[in-house]
Symmetry: C2
Subunit: 283 residues, 2 copies
């Protein structure tokens, strides 16, 4: 497995692979890998000749009061896991390597898609995401890039970014991996104490409840939101950031639930903010 | 000569050329070509195997009160000129092809480099330039891209954009082409009536005057600006938008003229706004 912390030698490596006609698959991560990340890697292994994983906790996508400093990191463990999966190359740059002195260029996806949900709760977050993803795509020049559906809003924004800026990459989305009890895998789950860990299943159960309501015929998004909110409030450790029911992939509000849509949640369990979603479809 | 108005077939053409190992040279233009553009093309012919010229009057880089609608266009003449130069491929998309329905992603270079000079006079202009250039680079995927020094601020911004976003292209700058009497070639020169055309040489003469002052030992940027402004005011048809003396390439204000620097002018001749500059260097 090749390991790079600098952009230039990585670019040389990628150029060599491309000259040999290899299909490059790319999995961008913030490290502290769990089975969700590894499912992206496995999908990439199936579809690409060369799999490159980046590990970079991007300061640009964290707000001033967010958890950048305490975000969990364990490069050694990550490298061992990726080696085991047969990954070809890991790119783990420093913030200084990614944002050289004088850096001041940003990519911004405008419109409702970035303004609602996590865009509302985390101002500047998606500007940071769009900028780093554009940079990583230009550095790695992948044919395919793999993103998890757990970060559905991010996924839709990146798909739009690729379309709008004519980036030469195909985005592949991969279903959310869950623990036995339904909790979506996330590096932030490590913040939870045992009591909070139990309470955290409220997100999955709330989504299940929402799905059942839709299956039972509920088509009013406001009523659905309200019912899901009430369900979540039964958990004393949970504090709702948002519950949203919106169209997919443009995340518009709907008068009536129809076609492809998302039920998306952000909920604090203690001081840990967790997100989860179901993407559903009705006639 | 190949001619494309759509992105997809152009991308296919470029991919074919790349598979054959060809070096792609790219000259982005807004059309209505003059000898300045053709000098970019000739430079590209020398350095690249395949030369692609784009012709696109980018609505995004024109302000609401600017000359987008009346900007001169003559595709037939442009194609004849490019054919004569031995250009391999012309890309002339419509605005609808470049900005598909729902387009809302922008690239912005922040900081003094985009805030001063034309960035101050034309709010949003460089955001439009950075966005379209990023798109064109992603569409054409050139190895080399050629820009004229007449638009020096644009050139420095694009060089910064390429660095900051890790774009895989080398920027080549080409000296300003001038008419016999020194007027910098520009498609906007066609707006000038004969009297204005004569008056328009004031820009070049003012730059020459500035250069002479520096050669004579002037190192105070404020005093240099003042003297150039006074020189321009001797022309009754001229109205100064800005006269700036700044460092190159970051366009910072200087206490003392030192190293590489630019004398940059924007001057209205009648209702036509013209720009020009000298890039100079002193110990």
């Amino acid at each position: 497995m090749r390991f790079f912390t600098e952009i230039k030698p990585l670019k040389t490596y990628v150029a060599e692979q491309k000259r040999e006609g290899k299909i490059i698959g790319f999995v961008p991560t913030m490290g502290y890998l769990h089975d969700g990340h590894l499912s992206l890697v496995r999908k990439a292994k199936l579809q690409a000749d060369v799999v490159i994983v980046s590990i970079f906790v991007n300061p640009l996508q964290f707000g001033p009061n967010e958890d950048f400093a305490k975000y969990p990191r364990d490069l050694e463990r990550d490298l061992a896991l990726l080696q085991e999966e047969g990954v070809d190359c890991v790119f783990a740059p420093s913030a200084e390597e990614m944002y050289k002195e004088g850096f001041s260029t940003f990519v911004e996806v405008n419109g409702e898609i970035t303004e609602v949900m996590c865009g509302k709760s985390r101002p500047g977050h998606f500007k940071g995401v769009a900028t780093v993803v554009t940079k990583l795509f230009n550095i790695v020049t992948p044919d395919l890039a793999f993103f998890g559906q757990k970060d559905a809003q991010q996924l839709f924004i990146i798909e739009k970014l690729v379309r709008d800026l004519n980036l030469n990459v195909e985005i592949v989305s991969v279903p959310t991996r869950r623990e036995e009890d339904g909790l979506a895998m996330s590096s932030r789950n490590t913040y939870l104490n045992p009591e909070e860990r139990k309470a955290a299943t409220i997100l999955y159960r709330a989504l299940k409840c929402g799905e059942e309501l839709v299956l039972a015929g509920e088509r009013n998004p406001e009523r659905l939101k309200k019912l899901i909110e009430e369900f979540i409030k039964t958990e004393p450790l949970a504090r709702i950031d948002y519950v949203e029911v919106r169209s997919v992939p443009d995340l518009k509000a709907m008068d009536v639930i129809k076609g492809k849509f998302i039920i998306a949640l952000a909920v604090y369990i203690g001081s840990t903010r967790l997100i989860d979603n179901f993407i559903l479809e009705v006639d």
